[in-house]
Symmetry: C2
Subunit: 381 residues, 2 copies
């Protein structure tokens, strides 16, 4: 859990890595892959013209179904399906820009709240042990909080802390009226039971939104979760801010993790998409993705989704952040998504880049959730 | 919630009607439809030979994908795909028989438990008001409990009871060590807030399994719900008992209600099916069902799923129970499912009838959940 802790960006280093929980498994199992083995297949649209009949179930020229429509059924002029133009290129969904907008909005709200009722939202982060990456994430969160005027609290506990000690700190934050959100930075040292610790966070302050009670409410019609998990919320927010119609569309979510895939599917379904969840046991996942108007991929498999998997005009949200070996990079590696970007950009109508797509949205949503929590606790509209 | 209360069978009258919550909406909006308007379309396989290319996405003769396989990939001799034989007919999944088996198993376990530790499982049902149908359901549950040796408790409260009075009774059952499961018969009188009442049932005794905490655990990998909702659990149990392989198969759930569709989709996904959820906002739902190895339909639309919607060899679980006008019936109506049975039986490899399919499973699962609860509370393996 604490997914917002799991996908984090440091703007200075551009390191965007999965560090915890289920979605990170693939990335952790395949921490470094040679660029060559993950290079997109030789499926270059500028060389071979795309023959939709070979790759796409429903003939794209007959029915390109561009989903970028607002009130009319005609696509805005800037959104031209790749299938309809020779040199067309998808709209790049700029997560960095949107995240900045959201942080600005949060900052304005925080300031309004402070002025009106004298309350400053507070976020507490609990870090156990000395993992460098975890320390970096915590530092980034602290910085992001400061930037928008949210007060940040942290508890740094030694590696050999007992479960009881960690839970004692959580209880302290649960009872602290200055704290409106609590995050436990994952992973925890192996001698500590993660579920026990996470269950100790009171649901009103569980800004990660991963408490089963929250997930249950997310799944149920007529119920409202207290918090929506940050990364999937960020995905949907990107669709909203780019005017992508979700209702009535076919959506495919690749990956069924607790922190991204599953809640993303529930969110899309809440917005009246028809959702299929594709996972490691799915035979021929491309048969599903080829029919999708919207694809959200969160598996941690570098370049898994090829151009041939994508329906012309589809919108692609790529949550994967995978390091691949790259001798040309000063760091020796570079980060790529689950989707073969070079191919996808020529067939999709819109796509998130990696990095700079979903990554920056996670912290923005965490700040937004913390604000929501403070507003709710203080009944501030 | 209290879904087990919503779809109930009275064996004497064969009245199987939706009475509560979301899945019942369609049935209630369309309480009586003329038989003619809901008659399956003229798509008779004994007259016109089925041309798969007209109706099925993946050519069925090329790839009938019969899902009735255990360890081998060859179908058991009794399960012949309709597409491969002229007069073939699907295996009828006998819910009445399976429900009887389950009740017998529960009875044996109850008796074993009583002998070993002297504990008898107890189920409490709370009925508010004078609805005749609700009274019938409560009576049936009581009878079913008695038959397997589960002690039944009931509280019958007048129509004008206050919310507080109802909750007081729930609290009483929460604290009663002889009660291991609590059901609130729905619908409640309109002046009572259903959610408040249902939330009062302690999660350890919520044998309906509809507490959001349970649904959340059902959705999350690595978590286990305390109870699985009765009707969807019954659907999956039928698949299991008929040896239907779920892992790796394509499943389509029609309907996304809290009490059947949504939890059924979560259960199928837990068993490694690739699940698509089709609903009222889905354009061309038949495009999804035609690709499905397993279809679970729970919408309450008489004969909605035509033969042309079904892939040859698919397995069909029909949760719908819809009354259609029938002048030939002494009652003036008869009950049909969501699936056009006459057509489906000629193309599917297996199908549940209505009545006598999923219906009888709901109470069997309720008894099973009550036993599970008693075992857990008393730590009896």
């Amino acid at each position: 859990m604490a997914a917002s802790s799991s996908i984090t960006t440091s703007s200075t280093t551009s390191k965007l890595l999965f560090t915890s929980s289920s979605t990170s498994t693939a990335a952790r199992l395949l921490p470094f892959t040679t660029t060559s083995s993950f290079k997109c297949r030789a499926f270059h649209f500028h060389r071979h013209r795309f023959n939709p009949l070979l790759h796409v179930h429903v003939g794209p020229f007959k029915n390109p179904r561009i989903v970028f429509t607002h009130s009319t059924n005609r696509p805005p002029s800037s959104f031209v399906s790749a299938a309809l133009a020779t040199e067309a290129s998808a709209k790049v969904i700029d997560g960095k820009k949107v995240a900045k907008e959201i942080r600005d909005e949060v900052a304005a709200e925080v300031s309004k709240m402070k002025e009106a009722i004298g309350v400053v939202p507070g976020l507490a982060v609990i870090l156990v042990g000395d993992r460098k990456d975890s320390a970096t994430y915590v530092r980034n969160k602290k910085k992001a909080c400061e930037d928008v005027g949210i007060k940040s609290f942290d508890a740094r506990l030694p590696e050999d802390s007992t479960e009881e000690e960690v839970i004692k700190h959580i209880s302290g934050f649960n009872n602290d009226p200055a704290v409106h959100g609590i995050l436990v930075q994952l992973p925890l040292p192996s001698h500590i039971n993660e579920q026990n610790v996470l269950n100790a966070v009171c649901i009103e302050k569980d800004v990660d939104g991963f408490h089963p009670l929250n997930i249950g409410r997310l799944a149920m019609r007529g119920r409202e979760p207290l918090f929506v998990p940050c990364t999937p919320k960020g995905c949907i927010e990107l669709l909203h801010r780019y005017g992508v119609v979700i209702k009535g569309k076919r959506a495919v979510v690749i990956g069924r993790s607790n922190i991204v895939g599953m809640p993303a599917a529930l969110l899309l379904q809440r917005e009246d998409a028809t959702v299929s969840v594709v996972h490691s046991r799915t035979k021929n996942p491309e048969e599903f993705t080829r029919e999708a108007d919207i694809i959200i991929s969160a598996v941690g498999q570098a370049n898994m989704v090829k151009g041939s998997w994508i329906k012309p005009g589809a919108v692609i949200i790529d949550v994967g952040i995978n390091p691949v070996e790259d001798s040309k990079s000063p760091r020796g590696y570079r980060l790529v998504g689950d989707v073969c970007y070079d191919e996808a950009i020529k067939i999709a109508s819109a796509i998130t880049p990696v990095p700079g797509g979903v990554g920056p949205m996670t912290i923005a949503m965490l700040l937004s959730n913390t604000l929501t929590s403070a507003k709710r606790i203080h009944n501030f509209k």
